[in-house]
Symmetry: C2
Subunit: 254 residues, 2 copies
Amino acid sequence: MPQLLARKYEQFIGLADDDRAALQHLADSPARTARARTDIIREGEQPRGAMLILDGWASLYKTLEDGRRQMLAMLLPGDLCELNASMLREMDHSLGTITALTYVELPAPVMEALAIDHPRIASALTWDLLVAAAIQREWTLNLGQRSALERIAHLICEMFVRLNAVGLTQAGGFDCPLTQTDLAEATGMTPVHVNRTLQDLRARRLIEWRGRSVVILRWQDLCSAAMFSPNYLHIERSEDHPGVGGQQSMERST
Amino acid sequence: MPQLLARKYEQFIGLADDDRAALQHLADSPARTARARTDIIREGEQPRGAMLILDGWASLYKTLEDGRRQMLAMLLPGDLCELNASMLREMDHSLGTITALTYVELPAPVMEALAIDHPRIASALTWDLLVAAAIQREWTLNLGQRSALERIAHLICEMFVRLNAVGLTQAGGFDCPLTQTDLAEATGMTPVHVNRTLQDLRARRLIEWRGRSVVILRWQDLCSAAMFSPNYLHIERSEDHPGVGGQQSMERST
DNA sequence: CGAACCTTTGAACGGTGTCAATTCTGGTGG
DNA sequence: CCACCAGAATTGACACCGTTCAAAGGTTCG
């Protein structure tokens, strides 16, 4: 948990000691907690500050009047969202927890001061925004063009790479609190079909998924089944990727 | 075409004369042109500056290796894209024209200087980025949860409101250069099904669409068929919306 | 050890996709 | 001014992916 943000941003830009200290200072702000499956802010409400996830998983989502619900983004530890959102009059989406969550709310003035005092952090924040937008575009592609199997596989690939970037993977797998209903909301499918698709992925020996434990058995094959290429995550300096399954690399194939 | 940007940004923030002049100066930069159906920049290439659309329509899109293609955003006159994109090593999506296009390329240093000299413009640019992200989220919802009819109807509603904001609507309709194949790429459907869905919308007397002319017959009913609410476009000061179909209002109905 | 939630299964349905023609339209050259 | 052409729109028949609805197992945790 310590240095989550600094670690992430150093993938993009070198930080000085005082930059790291400033980022650590953010994470040391009085943390808030929320229980699993609760909303932190809802569509229609007035935006508060940016939200920095310290521990646990959350999601952005929207709902239609008749109850249909679509997840828009998965928020993992180290993720920042709603940056600058307070410029808008009201929220156009909701932020809800998946697990119990520890986070900090960072009011706009705090972020402004931070950006002024630390130009490299300002750059890193812009980079963070760009990457979030890129992920949103990839999700658009996911929903619009990929088949059920490809969508689920793609989501697994993305979660793995993102968790890996903050040190939350272990030996070719990760701890995943998502239910099949969550996966359904993220991929625009029904829970029933998610279940069948996961069975398919397991039958192909691409992954194992028991309880909260996801294990990726064949990274390259999973990537190609998903048509996953990590380019949109814009991770520039990938020196210390552990590699999945021992010898396989996480480099783009093609 | 003159004052396109200023007009749009004044929906969000008041501008001073010198702000307007600076925006006009941008649009006066040596304009580039591109023919219809050509790419301006492709995935994998190195980002250049921001792109400001002066005239014509374009789109952002991504493709999968096997040729499946998904439109990510519709770019209309007055739209700005790829702001800050040059911070990233390579493009993760492509920008292609739909019609013949007039645009300007704005190198990062130009935009930086502009933001430093004109704080209100800097705010407006951030607002622009936030709205673009909100639209991307709405497209995610569109693809993930809405039916074919809802998707097409929603896209038409969005295009109308956005064109209206830059004065490109006429009497409850607008000039639309999109082919049914374009609509298919935007909505994640096949061209054949787009065709049938448009017939459905026409049979319900919600729209007319002949050639390039789109006429919205019953705005409120189209909105509710689409579950469209313009809140995500974050148009704050909507004093001079002409209203569609004479007496109908564009306010949200809930 | 029960209750709540999650996962899994089966069968039938239906929205969209696929494929292949055919008709229409706008722009072009003779 | 008209014949022509390429692209766009339209149509029909059929297949299939994913949904729907309902019920049965599993798991977790108080």
